[in-house]
Symmetry: C3
Subunit: 266 residues, 3 copies
């Protein structure tokens, strides 16, 4: 496939839409293969999502017919070998595995070819909407490397050992229905409708108390990462904090008034 | 909806049926909204289930067409704000998160509106039968609070991150089929049949060696709460203890005699 | 059922097929009930799989129409009561719970009656193919003992609490479709095709970089057994090790040459 002369190294687009930040993978002439430039921009986009108080939810999507064929290895591998942190050392890491973690909800819309880093980015989001033309493959084993962006953890967490091993150890291609059955995606829609549906869900999330949304993510993450007792121990302090917010008062008032709440995020 | 003058604050019913203890949520005129009185009675019912050696299995169900619309907040919130333990400080906590834990199996039958505490009570049971008219919603985020009765843990444990976040972060309503797919419920039956089917399963559990049933719950809980190695370490001691019981001898003898075992719980 | 005079205590067969080691449960006249002799041979077969550098993947299957009805208790129980390690003290334990662990991938093909140890052996594998005539039952509770070969852990890990408790606390029989829904098996095929399909998947696994396959199993196991942070911490060291192998060079070269990789396992 020819390079797009206007966008040879690709880019990450960002677009504000109300409380939403749309983050777009944009290098369709090369199946959205990630270049170092794109990885750096992706890290900055995630950091921007985190730092902008006006934004309450992120939405990861892709330009063109495919999510991504993966890393553009000839460009990326030399830098990886040098140990360069391609997302930027102070960035919110899009794989959400270590370092500065994201606190805001993230929805993903995926479609067509969704390979390797595409799956791992999607599994690092909270809710995923898949087009029915998705072709997933976590194919690192074909190159004798291990998926190191979270798939070895998150596939097991969602699908259980057997289903995770099936796709991890064979590197096989699987479709949207399989991904739904594995819990990797939450809904499958006709191709072309995945972004619209993802926006709908993201807006639904934005209509809830944003501090409670973030507290929920944090508590569930505490369970997954630190265990049952740690999550239980956080229930009391978390809700005492939430109850002191303006938004909690609005939550109760809107309930009494039988109207949707108008939250401020404080 | 009008109060029932004979039952204004609602109540929790208990009924012995052989080895079973049926625990019923009973305030149908108010969609079984939980009052402080009901929460206290619920704690005592769970404690009774635990303490009565003649009872081997509990069954949580609801009177009227719905499980529950949740807490009756105007009545409950002031006491919660004072930090009162509404289930009773020495009770077996129905959410089974801390304090005195239950050791006996619990089956739940749910139907119609099953919101917030209704879902969390059900997820704190072992097996759940759902009527096909169920309407589930974990809607705390609509009030800018966090579900603090176990949903942030148990939804992730059962359904995986994506499915759990979908329902937790939007507060959306979902039906019995979705709950089945998420592993929140184990069977969906036509509305009206859920209690009968739950009793059937509870009686099936009661026909097994009750000490082995409790040991199984404890071991799986050890895995979920303390991890793989702790659960494995308990295999030997647990089964050595079980093999010394009268019921283990009866288990072997009934196998030789090709008849159902007649267990005594010792 | 009459004993087979040529095979009264049963046996475990092993057969090399390229990079595959087929391990067969062989006592069909007694529904493949495991004798002490068979358990010892099973332990040696798993150890052989681990120790033979020429073999990259194991495949557990059964001779005759059934996987196994379980342990031949009259023969096995006395030795268990004495605390004999029936798999052999230095063996790779087929239940993969403690002691020397396996590092190589294992596929299982199950069919017909698949009870107790049959389920636990299958859940200790990575990928399971089930015939559509499977009859599963984890029936230890019927004898007032606890399943102590991993079911209390692995059923919860794959299916979530409710589904796991349903089958563990009732000892009920369930079929291949239920096992698929629970994630206990990965595919259901018409009876008679399960071994062929399992071989297909095992060969697909053998076509991937074998060191990356083992690293993937190890990393996911680290997540399940030691937690999220431990798994994340291993990403970097694991892939730096893999990138130094001959097979990683072959992986890249085969990608450039657009041909399947020819891995050597070093």
């Amino acid at each position: 496939m020819a390079e797009d002369p206007g966008n040879p190294e690709g880019r990450i687009t960002t677009e504000r839409r109300g409380r939403l930040l749309l983050i777009g993978i944009d290098r369709p002439h090369k199946l959205n293969g990630f270049t170092p430039k794109m990885l750096g921009e992706l890290g900055r986009a995630y950091t921007g999502l985190e730092d902008d108080d006006e934004v309450w939810c992120g939405l990861l999507h892709a330009h063109g017919p495919h999510t991504t064929a993966g890393l553009d290895l000839p460009k990326v591998a030399p830098l990886m070998a040098e140990g360069v942190d391609l997302y930027g050392p102070d960035s919110v890491h899009p794989m959400d595995l270590h370092g500065r973690r994201r606190s805001k909800p993230l929805v993903a819309a995926v479609k067509g070819i969704t390979y390797t880093i595409g799956i791992e980015l999607m599994l690092a989001c909270d809710v995923v909407i898949a087009a029915d033309d998705c072709r997933f493959s976590q194919l690192e084993v074909k190159r004798n490397i291990m998926a190191a962006g979270g798939a070895t953890i998150r596939m097991v967490e969602r699908a259980g050992w057997g289903n995770a091993m099936h796709v991890l150890l064979t590197g096989c291609e699987f479709d949207a229905d399989a991904a739904l059955r594995y819990g990797f995606v939450q809904e499958v829609v006709p191709a072309g409708e995945e972004l619209g549906r993802a926006i709908e869900i993201a807006e639904e999330i934005c209509a809830q108390g944003p501090l409670a949304v973030r507290a929920t993510i944090e508590n569930s993450r505490t369970f997954v990462e630190q265990g049952f007792d740690a999550a239980v121990a956080a229930f009391g302090p978390t809700n005492r904090g939430l109850l002191r917010t303006e938004d909690a008062k609005e939550g109760v008032q809107s309930f009494i008034d039988k109207r949707p709440a108008d939250f401020k995020g404080r």
